[in-house]
Protein backbone atom coordinates (compact mmCIF):
# COMPACT_ATOMS: atom_id res chain seq x y z
CA UNK A 1 0.00 0.00 0.00
CA UNK A 2 2.72 2.44 0.98
CA UNK A 3 5.83 1.49 -0.97
CA UNK A 4 8.19 3.57 1.17
CA UNK A 5 6.54 2.74 4.45
CA UNK A 6 3.80 4.63 6.20
CA UNK A 7 3.86 8.42 5.95
CA UNK A 8 4.08 10.45 9.10
CA UNK A 9 0.73 10.96 10.73
CA UNK A 10 -0.99 8.18 8.81
CA UNK A 11 -3.36 6.20 10.90
CA UNK A 12 -3.82 2.57 10.12
CA UNK A 13 -7.24 1.03 10.24
CA UNK A 14 -6.31 -2.35 11.59
CA UNK A 15 -9.82 -3.68 11.25
CA UNK A 16 -9.86 -3.12 7.50
CA UNK A 17 -9.57 -6.14 5.35
CA UNK A 18 -6.98 -4.73 2.90
CA UNK A 19 -4.62 -4.06 5.76
CA UNK A 20 -4.46 -7.78 6.42
CA UNK A 21 -2.40 -8.35 3.29
CA UNK A 22 -0.15 -5.50 4.22
CA UNK A 23 0.58 -7.20 7.51
CA UNK A 24 1.26 -10.51 5.88
CA UNK A 25 3.56 -9.00 3.29
CA UNK A 26 5.81 -7.88 6.07
CA UNK A 27 6.51 -11.42 7.17
CA UNK A 28 6.34 -13.25 3.89
CA UNK A 29 10.08 -13.36 3.31
CA UNK A 30 10.98 -15.26 6.44
CA UNK A 31 9.33 -18.10 8.21
CA UNK A 32 10.96 -17.12 11.48
CA UNK A 33 9.17 -13.81 11.60
CA UNK A 34 7.92 -13.18 15.10
CA UNK A 35 5.21 -10.66 14.45
CA UNK A 36 2.57 -13.27 14.93
CA UNK A 37 3.84 -14.17 18.36
CA UNK A 38 3.16 -10.88 20.07
CA UNK A 39 -0.18 -9.88 21.45
CA UNK A 40 -1.64 -7.06 19.47
CA UNK A 41 -3.55 -4.52 21.46
CA UNK A 42 -6.12 -2.87 19.31
CA UNK A 43 -6.49 0.42 21.13
CA UNK A 44 -2.88 1.60 20.98
CA UNK A 45 -2.45 2.68 17.46
CA UNK A 46 -1.17 6.19 17.49
CA UNK A 47 2.18 6.09 19.24
CA UNK A 48 5.14 3.79 19.44
CA UNK A 49 7.59 5.37 21.85
CA UNK A 50 5.42 7.06 24.42
CA UNK A 51 7.00 9.10 27.16
CA UNK A 52 5.48 9.33 30.61
CA UNK A 53 8.08 10.33 33.13
CA UNK A 54 9.36 13.83 33.57
CA UNK A 55 13.12 13.88 33.17
CA UNK A 56 15.11 17.07 33.58
CA UNK A 57 18.61 18.01 32.56
CA UNK A 58 21.25 17.98 35.27
CA UNK A 59 23.72 20.78 35.86
CA UNK A 60 27.40 20.14 35.29
CA UNK A 61 29.08 23.21 36.66
CA UNK A 62 32.25 23.90 34.71
CA UNK A 63 31.08 22.10 31.57
CA UNK A 64 30.14 25.10 29.48
CA UNK A 65 29.72 27.83 32.05
CA UNK A 66 31.34 27.94 35.45
CA UNK A 67 29.46 29.58 38.29
CA UNK A 68 31.49 30.45 41.37
CA UNK A 69 29.62 28.85 44.25
CA UNK A 70 30.53 31.54 46.80
CA UNK A 71 28.07 34.35 46.25
CA UNK A 72 28.65 36.58 49.26
CA UNK A 73 31.38 37.27 51.82
CA UNK A 74 30.58 39.11 55.04
CA UNK A 75 33.46 40.72 56.91
CA UNK A 76 32.73 41.57 60.54
CA UNK A 77 35.15 43.63 62.61
CA UNK A 78 35.34 45.54 65.88
CA UNK A 79 36.79 49.03 66.03
CA UNK A 80 38.18 48.70 69.51
CA UNK A 81 39.01 45.05 70.16
CA UNK A 82 42.68 44.05 69.86
CA UNK A 83 41.85 40.82 68.06
CA UNK A 84 40.50 42.86 65.14
CA UNK A 85 43.75 44.71 64.48
CA UNK A 86 44.79 42.44 61.62
CA UNK A 87 41.26 42.49 60.21
CA UNK A 88 41.16 46.30 60.20
CA UNK A 89 44.43 46.43 58.34
CA UNK A 90 43.15 43.79 55.87
CA UNK A 91 39.98 45.78 55.25
CA UNK A 92 41.83 49.02 54.58
CA UNK A 93 44.67 47.63 52.45
CA UNK A 94 43.81 44.31 50.79
CA UNK A 95 40.06 44.02 50.51
CA UNK A 96 39.62 46.49 47.64
CA UNK A 97 42.04 44.52 45.46
CA UNK A 98 40.35 41.24 46.39
CA UNK A 99 36.94 42.64 45.50
CA UNK A 100 38.26 43.92 42.18
CA UNK A 101 39.67 40.48 41.37
CA UNK A 102 36.42 38.71 42.24
CA UNK A 103 33.53 40.81 40.99
CA UNK A 104 31.18 37.81 41.17
CA UNK A 105 31.23 37.90 44.98
CA UNK A 106 29.10 40.38 46.82
CA UNK A 107 31.13 41.81 49.70
CA UNK A 108 29.65 43.28 52.84
CA UNK A 109 31.62 44.89 55.64
CA UNK A 110 29.92 45.60 58.91
CA UNK A 111 31.02 46.28 62.48
CA UNK A 112 30.35 43.76 65.21
CA UNK A 113 31.37 45.60 68.36
CA UNK A 114 32.94 43.75 71.27
CA UNK A 115 33.24 40.51 69.29
CA UNK A 116 36.05 38.74 67.51
CA UNK A 117 36.37 39.40 63.76
CA UNK A 118 34.63 36.85 61.52
CA UNK A 119 34.43 36.13 57.81
CA UNK A 120 31.24 34.49 56.64
CA UNK A 121 30.77 32.95 53.24
CA UNK A 122 27.29 32.48 51.74
CA UNK A 123 26.94 29.87 49.04
CA UNK A 124 24.59 29.14 46.17
CA UNK A 125 23.33 25.95 47.78
CA UNK A 126 22.08 28.04 50.72
CA UNK A 127 24.79 27.00 53.14
CA UNK A 128 26.94 29.36 55.18
CA UNK A 129 30.52 28.97 56.37
CA UNK A 130 32.16 31.14 59.00
CA UNK A 131 35.80 31.45 59.98
CA UNK A 132 36.91 33.36 63.04
CA UNK A 133 40.03 35.42 62.25
CA UNK A 134 40.90 36.79 65.68
CA UNK A 135 44.53 37.91 66.14
CA UNK A 136 45.42 36.93 62.56
CA UNK A 137 47.75 38.87 60.30
CA UNK A 138 46.35 40.33 57.05
CA UNK A 139 48.18 37.71 54.98
CA UNK A 140 46.61 34.92 57.04
CA UNK A 141 43.20 36.53 56.72
CA UNK A 142 43.70 36.58 52.95
CA UNK A 143 44.32 32.83 53.06
CA UNK A 144 41.13 32.28 55.05
CA UNK A 145 39.21 34.46 52.59
CA UNK A 146 40.52 32.37 49.72
CA UNK A 147 39.43 29.20 51.50
CA UNK A 148 35.91 30.56 51.75
CA UNK A 149 35.98 31.78 48.15
CA UNK A 150 37.01 28.42 46.78
CA UNK A 151 34.61 26.34 48.86
CA UNK A 152 31.40 25.12 47.28
CA UNK A 153 29.34 25.36 50.43
CA UNK A 154 28.94 21.64 50.95
CA UNK A 155 30.13 19.87 54.03
CA UNK A 156 33.64 18.56 53.73
CA UNK A 157 33.69 14.93 52.78
CA UNK A 158 36.28 12.48 51.70
CA UNK A 159 36.24 11.66 47.99
CA UNK A 160 37.29 8.12 47.35
CA UNK A 161 36.87 7.95 43.60
CA UNK A 162 39.14 10.09 41.47
CA UNK A 163 36.43 10.71 38.87
CA UNK A 164 32.68 10.94 39.18
CA UNK A 165 30.60 11.28 36.06
CA UNK A 166 26.99 11.43 35.00
CA UNK A 167 27.80 9.64 31.77
CA UNK A 168 27.76 5.91 31.64
CA UNK A 169 31.00 4.05 31.20
CA UNK A 170 32.16 3.87 27.59
CA UNK A 171 33.67 0.46 28.26
CA UNK A 172 30.36 -0.95 29.42
CA UNK A 173 29.74 -3.26 32.31
CA UNK A 174 31.30 -6.67 32.32
CA UNK A 175 28.84 -9.40 31.57
CA UNK A 176 29.34 -13.01 32.53
CA UNK A 177 27.23 -14.22 29.62
CA UNK A 178 29.22 -12.66 26.81
CA UNK A 179 32.60 -13.31 25.25
CA UNK A 180 34.60 -16.48 24.93
CA UNK A 181 35.73 -18.52 27.88
CA UNK A 182 39.33 -17.88 28.75
CA UNK A 183 41.58 -19.93 30.93
CA UNK A 184 42.23 -17.99 34.06
Amino acid sequence: MFPGGLPVGASVQVGEYQEHFNYNDAGKSNQDDFVGQGKLSMDEKDMSGVFFECELTEAQNGVGAFILQCKRLDFHYCNFGGSSRGMLSFLTTDLAAFAREHPQIEIRVSPRPAKHPVIKGHYINGQEKAICVRNLEPSEIMKKTNILKEANGEKLKRTKKPVTSLNESVRGIWSPYHGDLRGV
Binding site: Y17, G27, Q31, R182, V184
Partner: protein, 194 residues
Protein backbone atom coordinates in the same frame (compact mmCIF):
# COMPACT_ATOMS: atom_id res chain seq x y z
CA UNK B 1 42.94 -28.33 41.34
CA UNK B 2 43.00 -28.77 45.08
CA UNK B 3 43.70 -32.38 45.96
CA UNK B 4 43.52 -33.14 49.63
CA UNK B 5 46.77 -34.59 50.87
CA UNK B 6 47.95 -34.84 54.42
CA UNK B 7 51.18 -32.99 54.71
CA UNK B 8 53.91 -34.61 56.76
CA UNK B 9 55.61 -32.45 59.32
CA UNK B 10 58.88 -32.49 57.45
CA UNK B 11 58.88 -31.08 53.93
CA UNK B 12 58.94 -33.47 51.02
CA UNK B 13 62.28 -32.33 49.73
CA UNK B 14 64.08 -33.58 52.77
CA UNK B 15 62.57 -37.05 52.34
CA UNK B 16 63.43 -37.99 48.74
CA UNK B 17 62.36 -41.60 49.10
CA UNK B 18 58.72 -40.47 49.44
CA UNK B 19 58.77 -38.75 46.08
CA UNK B 20 57.57 -40.65 43.03
CA UNK B 21 59.29 -38.23 40.66
CA UNK B 22 60.93 -34.85 40.81
CA UNK B 23 58.42 -32.89 38.70
CA UNK B 24 55.45 -34.11 40.65
CA UNK B 25 57.10 -33.25 43.91
CA UNK B 26 57.64 -29.67 42.81
CA UNK B 27 53.99 -29.26 41.89
CA UNK B 28 52.91 -30.79 45.16
CA UNK B 29 55.31 -28.62 47.13
CA UNK B 30 53.90 -25.43 45.57
CA UNK B 31 50.24 -25.83 46.41
CA UNK B 32 49.93 -22.23 47.70
CA UNK B 33 47.64 -21.06 44.95
CA UNK B 34 45.98 -17.86 46.06
CA UNK B 35 48.11 -17.21 49.08
CA UNK B 36 50.17 -14.29 47.79
CA UNK B 37 49.20 -11.01 46.21
CA UNK B 38 51.72 -11.46 43.41
CA UNK B 39 50.36 -14.86 42.44
CA UNK B 40 46.80 -13.63 42.51
CA UNK B 41 47.68 -10.76 40.21
CA UNK B 42 49.65 -13.11 38.01
CA UNK B 43 46.65 -15.31 37.50
CA UNK B 44 44.49 -12.35 36.58
CA UNK B 45 46.92 -11.36 33.85
CA UNK B 46 44.77 -12.55 30.97
CA UNK B 47 45.96 -12.21 27.43
CA UNK B 48 44.07 -9.26 26.03
CA UNK B 49 41.62 -9.37 23.21
CA UNK B 50 43.01 -8.64 19.76
CA UNK B 51 41.20 -5.34 19.51
CA UNK B 52 42.77 -4.04 22.71
CA UNK B 53 46.33 -4.78 21.73
CA UNK B 54 49.15 -2.24 21.74
CA UNK B 55 50.39 -0.49 18.66
CA UNK B 56 51.23 -2.87 15.87
CA UNK B 57 53.70 -2.30 13.03
CA UNK B 58 54.65 1.08 14.39
CA UNK B 59 51.23 2.71 14.07
CA UNK B 60 48.43 3.12 16.51
CA UNK B 61 45.68 0.61 16.39
CA UNK B 62 42.09 1.72 16.54
CA UNK B 63 40.09 -0.12 19.13
CA UNK B 64 37.06 -1.29 17.22
CA UNK B 65 34.02 -2.29 19.20
CA UNK B 66 31.24 -2.51 16.69
CA UNK B 67 27.97 -1.03 17.86
CA UNK B 68 25.05 -3.37 17.42
CA UNK B 69 23.77 -3.19 13.88
CA UNK B 70 25.23 0.22 13.16
CA UNK B 71 25.95 -0.44 9.47
CA UNK B 72 22.43 -1.60 8.77
CA UNK B 73 20.73 1.36 10.38
CA UNK B 74 22.97 4.03 8.90
CA UNK B 75 21.54 5.99 5.99
CA UNK B 76 23.08 5.50 2.56
CA UNK B 77 25.03 8.77 2.56
CA UNK B 78 26.73 8.15 5.91
CA UNK B 79 30.46 7.54 5.55
CA UNK B 80 30.48 5.21 8.56
CA UNK B 81 28.75 2.56 6.47
CA UNK B 82 32.03 1.77 4.77
CA UNK B 83 33.98 1.51 8.01
CA UNK B 84 32.98 -2.07 8.69
CA UNK B 85 35.95 -4.33 8.07
CA UNK B 86 35.46 -7.55 6.13
CA UNK B 87 36.78 -9.59 9.06
CA UNK B 88 34.01 -8.42 11.34
CA UNK B 89 31.34 -9.85 9.07
CA UNK B 90 33.17 -13.15 8.77
CA UNK B 91 33.77 -13.45 12.50
CA UNK B 92 30.13 -13.39 13.50
CA UNK B 93 28.52 -16.72 14.07
CA UNK B 94 26.09 -18.10 11.58
CA UNK B 95 22.64 -16.92 12.59
CA UNK B 96 20.84 -19.97 11.28
CA UNK B 97 22.84 -22.16 13.67
CA UNK B 98 21.60 -20.30 16.74
CA UNK B 99 18.57 -21.78 18.50
CA UNK B 100 15.31 -19.95 18.06
CA UNK B 101 13.40 -18.42 20.93
CA UNK B 102 10.29 -20.38 19.99
CA UNK B 103 10.17 -24.12 19.77
CA UNK B 104 7.82 -24.24 16.83
CA UNK B 105 7.28 -21.69 14.15
CA UNK B 106 3.74 -21.11 12.90
CA UNK B 107 3.28 -21.99 9.30
CA UNK B 108 1.97 -19.17 7.18
CA UNK B 109 -0.53 -20.25 4.58
CA UNK B 110 -2.21 -17.08 3.23
CA UNK B 111 -5.21 -19.17 2.28
CA UNK B 112 -8.14 -17.06 3.50
CA UNK B 113 -10.28 -15.23 0.98
CA UNK B 114 -12.34 -12.06 1.49
CA UNK B 115 -15.43 -14.28 1.77
CA UNK B 116 -13.82 -16.19 4.62
CA UNK B 117 -13.09 -12.94 6.41
CA UNK B 118 -16.71 -11.87 6.03
CA UNK B 119 -17.75 -15.25 7.42
CA UNK B 120 -15.45 -14.79 10.42
CA UNK B 121 -16.90 -11.38 11.14
CA UNK B 122 -20.46 -12.64 10.85
CA UNK B 123 -19.88 -15.62 13.13
CA UNK B 124 -18.11 -13.64 15.80
CA UNK B 125 -20.74 -10.91 15.80
CA UNK B 126 -23.80 -13.17 15.81
CA UNK B 127 -22.77 -15.93 18.20
CA UNK B 128 -19.82 -14.69 20.27
CA UNK B 129 -20.20 -17.35 22.97
CA UNK B 130 -19.74 -20.26 20.55
CA UNK B 131 -17.34 -18.59 18.19
CA UNK B 132 -14.56 -17.29 20.33
CA UNK B 133 -11.25 -16.20 18.87
CA UNK B 134 -9.72 -19.59 19.49
CA UNK B 135 -12.58 -21.62 18.05
CA UNK B 136 -12.64 -19.42 14.98
CA UNK B 137 -8.89 -19.80 14.59
CA UNK B 138 -9.27 -23.56 14.75
CA UNK B 139 -12.07 -23.56 12.20
CA UNK B 140 -10.31 -21.32 9.69
CA UNK B 141 -6.81 -22.67 10.39
CA UNK B 142 -5.28 -19.34 11.21
CA UNK B 143 -3.90 -17.72 14.35
CA UNK B 144 -6.13 -16.11 17.01
CA UNK B 145 -4.17 -12.94 16.38
CA UNK B 146 -5.40 -12.87 12.83
CA UNK B 147 -8.99 -13.12 14.08
CA UNK B 148 -8.31 -10.16 16.34
CA UNK B 149 -6.93 -8.21 13.41
CA UNK B 150 -9.95 -8.96 11.28
CA UNK B 151 -12.71 -8.13 13.73
CA UNK B 152 -13.26 -7.08 17.32
CA UNK B 153 -15.60 -8.61 19.85
CA UNK B 154 -19.09 -7.23 20.18
CA UNK B 155 -19.79 -4.91 23.13
CA UNK B 156 -22.04 -7.48 24.81
CA UNK B 157 -19.34 -10.12 24.65
CA UNK B 158 -16.83 -7.65 26.06
CA UNK B 159 -19.15 -6.88 28.98
CA UNK B 160 -19.67 -10.57 29.73
CA UNK B 161 -15.97 -11.22 29.54
CA UNK B 162 -15.33 -8.35 31.92
CA UNK B 163 -17.76 -9.82 34.43
CA UNK B 164 -16.11 -13.20 34.17
CA UNK B 165 -12.71 -11.61 34.79
CA UNK B 166 -14.00 -9.71 37.80
CA UNK B 167 -15.51 -12.87 39.24
CA UNK B 168 -12.18 -14.66 38.88
CA UNK B 169 -10.22 -11.78 40.33
CA UNK B 170 -12.54 -11.45 43.32
CA UNK B 171 -11.37 -14.88 44.47
CA UNK B 172 -7.72 -13.83 44.48
CA UNK B 173 -6.04 -13.43 47.83
CA UNK B 174 -3.62 -10.64 48.66
CA UNK B 175 -0.55 -12.70 47.70
CA UNK B 176 -1.75 -13.56 44.25
CA UNK B 177 -3.06 -10.07 43.63
CA UNK B 178 0.27 -8.51 44.59
CA UNK B 179 2.16 -11.02 42.50
CA UNK B 180 0.04 -10.17 39.47
CA UNK B 181 0.53 -6.45 40.04
CA UNK B 182 4.27 -6.91 40.38
CA UNK B 183 4.35 -8.87 37.18
CA UNK B 184 2.56 -6.06 35.40
CA UNK B 185 4.98 -3.48 36.78
CA UNK B 186 7.96 -5.59 35.73
CA UNK B 187 6.55 -5.88 32.28
CA UNK B 188 6.16 -2.11 32.04
CA UNK B 189 9.75 -1.70 33.17
CA UNK B 190 10.92 -3.65 30.12
CA UNK B 191 9.62 -0.93 27.86
CA UNK B 192 11.61 1.71 29.72
CA UNK B 193 14.74 -0.47 29.64
CA UNK B 194 15.05 -0.53 33.40
Amino acid sequence: MATSITMPKRPFLTLPFLLPSLTESLSLGAVRHQSSYRRTKQRLRVKPDASFGPSQQGRDQIIYNPPSSAPKFLPANDVRRAMRPATAAAATTNVSELPSVYKTQPERKYHLTPEDVEEIRKLRLNDPMTWSRYSLAKKFECSPLFIAKVCGASPEKKAIQKQVLEAVQSRWGPKRRMAREDRKLRREAWGRDE
